[in-house]
Structures are given as C-alpha cells and as structure tokens.
C-alpha cells in the first residue's frame, strides 16, 4: 500500500543498535559490575540487530506473494486502500 524504502530503516536501526552496542559501553559507570553490564549491552545489540536485519532481508525480494481468500481481498481492497 505504501512504498517503503530499504535504506532508511537500515540506517536508523544500524545507528540505534550501534549506539547501544558500541557507544554504550563507554558510558557505563565504573563499579564491580561494569564488565557484566558491558557484556549485556553488546550481546543485546548484536542479537537484536541481527534478528531485525534477518527479518527485513528476508522480505526484501519476495519470491512469492500472500495467497488471500476472496473475502479478504474484498475488504482489504476497500478498507485499507
């Protein structure tokens, strides 16, 4: 229905998780738990970014489209658009 760009979400999310994963560790205050917190930040950033990236890449060049029932087509056609 709406054209979605690919570059914009990639830039936004890469920056977002990059800030958390790469810039975040520098901001953690010194203390006994500093190592653990840095590990958690980096691991979260890597896992969540990778997860989102795989999802968007999997939808980038679809090989087939959704198969809809005719009732769905009727109401989506007139409700969403």
């Amino acid at each position: 229905m709406t054209a979605h760009s690919f570059a914009l979400p990639v830039i936004i999310f890469t920056t977002f998780w990059g800030l958390i994963g790469i810039a975040g560790p520098w901001l953690v205050p010194k203390g006994p738990n500093r190592g653990v917190i840095i590990t958690m930040l980096v691991a979260t950033a890597v896992c969540c970014y990778l997860f989102w990236l795989i999802t968007i890449l999997a939808q980038l060049n679809p090989l087939f489209g959704p198969q809809l029932k005719n009732e769905t087509i009727w109401y989506v056609r007139f409700l969403w658009e």
Binding site: T2, G35, I54, T55, Q59
Partner: protein
C-alpha cells in the same frame, strides 16, 4: 571484563593456628567464607579424630532439639526464623546451652506425662458418670425385687421344672468402645442367652480419647443377670473386651450420691488440668523463643569442630596446621581476620602460601542477579579452574533464544510484569519465608523471567504478533488494489476463485519491505506458513551458527594463557574451521537467495545444492518452478554458483582425517579432559576417528582383539590408561559407532 570472565585465581594457603585460638579463628573464617579447607586427616577414620567428643556432643544436642521441635509442632506453635548474625558461641557457652536444653527437655517430658495421666483420669470419671446416668433412666424398671424379675422375664425356652434357686438380679455396668459394642452384645446373647438382659446406650456427648485426643461416642451398658455362673461368664466377657466396669449401686439414692461425688471430683480434676496446660504452654513458649537461635549456633559449632578435625597437629602440639584454598584477592582479608580473632591470646596465626600440583577449585563470585544464570550454566557442568566462564553471555543469549521461540508482545508483556512484581517484592519477609517449592522455583528465576519477557516483547514486535494477532504499526508494503487492477479482478472473478495469490513482480503490488518486522498482510494470507517457515528456519540456522562460532571463539581463550598460541590454534583450527566454513557457506547461500532478484527470473537465480537437511525443505518450498527449469539453465546455474562460492573450495577438499568431533578442540592438547568434554569423547566419537586412532596406537600382546560386536571394524586400544577409553575390565565397552 569483570570477574565473571574466568574463575578467580586461587592459591593454597597453609595456616598455622595456635591451639588456644584455633576455635575462634576457624569460626571467624567460617563467618567470612574465605577458605575451603582441605582434609589433612583423610586416612584417619571419623572416630579417631581429635575433636570427635565435641562433635558427638553437638549431635546429641541436635537430637534433643529435634524432640523439642516436634513438641512445639505438636502443640501447633510456629517456630520463628532466627534473625541477625549468630556466630558460633565459645565452648563455655555451649555448656550453658546444653544444660538449659536438658532442663527444658526434662520439664517438657514430665509435664506431658502428667497431662496424659490427668486426662486419662478425667476420661474414667466421665465414663463412670455416664454409666451411672445410664442406670438412672432405667432405674425404676430394673430395681428388682426377687419376685418380680423372673416372672416378667421368664425366658420362653427355659426347660420347665428347673429350680430358680438364685433369683437375685445382679448388675454389671460399664462402658465399651463404640466399635466393639455390637460384638459384645452378640457374644453376650450367644453365651448367656436367656439369663441376662443387656441394654446399651450411647453417652450423651462425645468424650475425648486420652491418648489420641479424638472425640468418640462411647456406649454404656447395663447388664442385669441372675445366676453365679452367668455372672462369671459376663465378667469374663467384659474383661475380654477391655470394657471399663464400674460398681453399680442398686438404689437410686446411692447412685445419686455417687454421681455427685464424681462431679465434684471431675471439677477438681479439670482445675488441675487447666493449671497443667498453662504450665505446658509456658514451657513451650520458652522453647519457641530460644530454640531457633540455638539450632543455628549448634550447627555452626559442629561445623567448626568438623573443620578443626581436618587440621593436622604439629609435632610440638603447640599449633594446628590447616590447609585451604583461598582466593588471591582475599588473602589480606584472611590475614586480618586471623589477627582479629586471636588478639586476646597474644600469639598470632601465620598464613603461608604454598605451591600445589592439584587443580584448584573454581570460584566465581556472583551477585543475586547473576547467580541464577551461573546456576543454569553450572547445571551443565562446573568449569575447570581458570576456564572461560560462559555465564555472562548466557544472561542475554538464553532469554533471547527463548524469545525467538516465544515471540509475542502481549504474552511477553504479561511475563515481564509478573517477573517485575517478583523482583520488586523480593525483599519482603513474607516472600522470603515462603516454603512452597513451586513458588521458590519461579522466585529463584525472577531475573531470568524478567529478561525473557523483555526480549519476548521485542521479538513479538518483529514477528508482528500481539496475542497472536498482527499489528499495522506501519502501513503494509503489499497492495491488493494494485494486484486487483493489474490482473483485472472483477467481483465475478473473485466470486468464482476462492483463493488468489499476489504476484510480487506485478507493478505496484510489492512496494518495499516492511520497515520493522513481518508485514501484517501475511497474517491474512492462507500460505503464511510457507513464507514464515522458510524465514524462521534460515534465521535459526544463522543465529545458531553465530552463537556456535562465538562459543568456539571463546574456547580459544582457554588455550591462550597457559600455552603458546600456535599450539592452541593447531589443535582447534583444522577441526573447527572446516565445520565453520561449511556452515557459513550455507549462511551466505541463504543470504544470496534473499538478495537475488524477484520471482520472474527467480527460478533462474543460483540456488546452491542444499548441504544439510534443514535447507532442503525450505529451498524446495520457496520456488515451485525450479523443477520445471530447463537443463541448460541448471548447468549455467551450477557454473554461476561455483564462481560465486569459490572461496569455500579449499575447505571442501580438505583431507577428511581433519574431520574430528568439535569436543576434541578443548582436549586436543593432551590434557585429561574432565566433565562434559570427557563424556562426549567417550561416547560420541565418529567412526573415522576410531579407525585412525587405533591405527596409530600399537596393540599390546595379550589384549583381546575385539570386544565389540562382530560387525564393528574397530579394535580396543591397548593401554587401559588412555583416559578417553576408560572402562571396567569386566564389561566390554560398547562401540561408539555403528557399522
């Protein structure tokens, strides 16, 4: 990295404790938890050690405590949890505790005995009163005169002419337990039929059984009989049934007097009983107050003496020598603790670090947050000394992988809120003291649940599922109207075709990937599983390979400090790199399918032959037209694939003797592997390694040729000392590989 990357550095410390202050020193060390003592008297039995008398004293005290605890529990009183720091008391205080405990136990036993006796007495009085009351109702009828009785009660079957010599009616009155009343009645009828009248009646109210305390309705009976022999029989029968028989005065006035006396007695008895119970409750209250503290203290005293038993006595008998593992970081604290606890004695203990060949224990300090995750990792196997600890990474990867499987915003939010409630209430005493096992399981994993809920919310957004319904945060990237217009889907056409597919190649149908997550159109599609399954399977492989590579990368650090780097790499490189490259080859192939152009030339896009089972189902489902591709296309596809993935060739053609199990990475340097590594070496070696290993080792003469099944081609290696093959000689090892 923090202290959780590896286990801490631990050193063997020898402590010279002067005999006078040994107890205090060990007690202080126990409070601080700095040292793990080693048993220096392992060859000595438990009964020959130095402090065995003290240990026995503590154990007897604990037995008395159990008795006291049982009494308190029987009275229905709760035992409060001990509060505050309770260090082990010095030996003279222990004597005081012992005396006090003995006195309390004796008092309690005496009072209990008295209480029981008084209740039994009261029970008897009550029964007697009930029996007399029984007679009261029937009194006028049964106050017999010698003449009246037999004439009314002449039995029908009495043989005529028998002289009624003894016409006096006698009474036996008593009480019998309710269960036996019917049997008693029957037996009386069978034995003395015709010569007695028995009347049974229930007591008016329930009486408490003195032993068990259960209320029960007793049956009182009044037997009127005549004849000496009958009387003897009746007495024998009542004795047999353990009935309580009471004297039954015939005149009503006498009965009334007796009843009044009984009532007076029972009133007095109740007073005494009340006083006894008051005293009992006072004693129990004292026990309730003192017992929890004592239990903790005596347990600590016993632990101190058990630790002292592990020390060896020096030749001059002036000091005890203790050996224990202590973290290097804690050595100053250890010295200060020893100094403080022996300040009164004047002689200070000495700490001396000695080198050791034994592997030190693994010490990882955890906070209440990290303790749960470390516990999960330790359940798989505790790492060796200074081995890389995977626990800090599992703080994120466990919840994340759970969330990949769970993936729902609504349910994830509920889980997060439940865990948040537990975390915020964790310091409440009611929550801490709860004993329910199921609750303790959940409470122990509250931080894990918190993170699992949080990640599930995120993956729920990515999967676009909230309580299993899709959300349209952004408008969908698929246009149904465009497809309908382009393909001329009129209403009649739609009515005739129940299912229609959107083709992404058509102009204007697919307008771009959904920026965050899965497009909501898929939740309306009938074939949503075809897309989602392929997506999720490829994602699982990529995530899995990433995690495993990270694990292997961490494993390199196990070899880096103790060994020079090249040996470490040669041990793991060939084995692991082969597998890694194979997996990464597959991952990049998956990515290539995503980056290829869409479906009109999609069937012509290079598709690599699936290297493993997970790929085949997904690739077969993604393009249905691949089967129809002409042969020329396939060969050109193959050529294109070869050109694209040329970098994976060297690894594909690596000699297969490098193909060993990944577990051999950690043990490849020849150090004896322990724990899970050894287990997997023992049971999961591939057939290749079996054959190459046996070819390398010469077979000693006399060892059996083959203990395995006839079909197996391996031979048992010669040296039983080779650790990976260790098996008892009586049982032949099962061959790890099939034919």
């Amino acid at each position: 990295m923090g202290s959780m990357f590896r286990s801490e550095e631990v050193v063997l410390a020898q402590l010279f404790l002067p005999t006078a202050s040994a107890y205090a020193c060990v007690s202080q060390l126990g409070e601080l938890g700095l040292v793990e003592f080693r048993d220096l008297n392992a060859s000595v039995s438990a009964f020959q050690r130095r402090f065995v008398a003290d240990v026995r004293r503590c154990e007897e005290l604990e037995k008395t405590f159990t008795f006291l605890q049982e009494e308190v529990r029987r009275a229905g009183l709760p035992l409060p949890r001990p509060e505050g720091a309770l260090p082990a008391p010095p030996p003279r205080d222990l004597l005081h505790i012992q005396e006090e405990t003995e006195r309390l136990a004796q008092e309690l036993r005496g009072v209990r005995g008295n209480h029981q006796a008084l209740r039994a007495q009261l029970h008897q009085l009550q029964l007697h009163a009930a029996v007399l009351g029984h007679g009261h109702g029937h009194g006028p009828l049964l106050a017999a005169t010698p003449m009246d009785g037999p004439s009314d009660l002449t039995p029908l079957l009495q043989p005529p002419g028998t002289p009624h010599r003894d016409l006096r009616v006698n009474f036996v009155a008593g009480a019998v337990e309710p269960g036996k009343a019917a049997a008693l009645e029957r037996l009386l009828w069978r034995a003395c039929r015709g010569f007695l009248i028995a009347s049974f009646r229930e007591t008016e109210r329930q009486l408490e059984d003195p032993v068990t305390g259960e209320p029960a309705m007793w049956m009182t009976f009044l037997i009127s009989y005549w004849g000496e022999q009958i009387g003897r029989k009746v007495h024998k029968i009542t004795d047999c049934f353990h009935c309580h028989v009471f004297p039954f005065p015939e005149e009503e006035a006498a009965r009334r007097v007796a009843l009044e006396q009984l009532q007076q007695q029972s009133l007095e008895l109740r007073e005494v009983l009340r006083e006894t119970e008051l005293f009992l409750s006072q004693v129990l209250a004292r026990v309730q107050r003192l017992l929890p503290t004592w239990q903790v203290q005596v347990r600590k005293v016993k632990a101190v003496y058990l630790a002292l038993n592990q020390c060896s006595v020096s030749a001059t008998h002036k000091c005890l020598i203790a050996e224990g593992w202590c973290a290097t970081r804690d050595l100053p604290r250890l010295q200060e603790a020893l100094r403080n606890s022996s300040m009164e004695e004047g002689v200070s203990p000495v700490v001396h670090c000695i080198p050791s060949r034994d592997m030190p224990p693994t010490l990882i300090r955890t906070s209440r947050f990290t303790a749960g995750f470390q516990g999960i990792v330790d359940a798989y196997g505790v790492g060796r000394y200074q081995e890389v600890n995977p626990a800090p990474y599992t703080i994120i990867t466990f919840p994340f992988l759970f969330a990949v499987m769970f993936g729902d915003v609504g349910h994830g939010l509920l889980m997060f809120l439940f865990a948040l409630a537990m975390v915020l209430a964790e310091n409440r005493p009611a929550v801490k003291a709860a004993q329910n096992e199921i609750w303790r399981t959940f409470f122990g994993g509250r931080y894990l649940l918190l993170l699992m809920g949080l990640f599930s919310v995120y993956t729920g957004f990515v999967y676009n599922e909230c309580f299993s319904r899709a959300m349209t945060i952004f408008p969908s990237g698929w246009s149904v109207a465009a497809m309908a217009n382009q393909s001329g889907w009129s209403d009649e056409f739609l009515a005739q075709n129940p299912l229609l597919m959107l083709v992404p190649n058509t102009t204007g149908v697919f307008l771009g990937p959904y920026p965050f997550g899965i497009d909501p159109i898929w939740s309306l599609a009938v074939n949503h599983l075809s897309f989602l399954n392929s997506f999720k399977m490829k994602m699982s492989v990529i995530l899995g390979v990433t995690h495993m590579t990270f694990g292997v990368f961490l494993g390199v650090f196990n070899h880096v400090p103790p060994l020079p780097l090249p040996t470490g790499i040669s041990a793991s490189a060939t084995a692991c790199c082969w597998r890694r490259c194979l997996s990464w080859c597959f991952c990049s192939a998956s990515s290539a399918t995503w980056s290829s152009s869409s479906s009109s030339s999609g069937c012509a896009s290079p598709r690599p032959p699936p290297p493993g089972p997970p790929a085949s189902s997904s690739t077969s489902s993604t393009c249905s037209c691949s089967a129809a591709a002409p042969p020329t296309r396939r060969s050109s596809r193959a050529r294109r694939w070869c050109r694209r993935y040329w970098w994976s060739w060297p690894w594909l053609w690596c000699p297969s003797c490098c193909w060993a199990h990944p577990c051999s990475c950690t043990g490849g340097t020849g150090a004896t592997p322990r724990g899970p590594a050894a287990h997997c070496r023992r049971t999961r070696l591939s057939s290749w390694t079996l054959r190459t290993e046996t070819r390398r080792r010469p077979r000693a003469p006399g060892s059996p040729r083959s203990w395995c099944s006839p079909r197996c081609s391996c031979t048992r290696p010669s040296t039983p000392s080779s650790s990976a093959w260790a098996a008892s000689p009586t049982r032949p090892p099962t061959c790890a590989s099939g034919p």
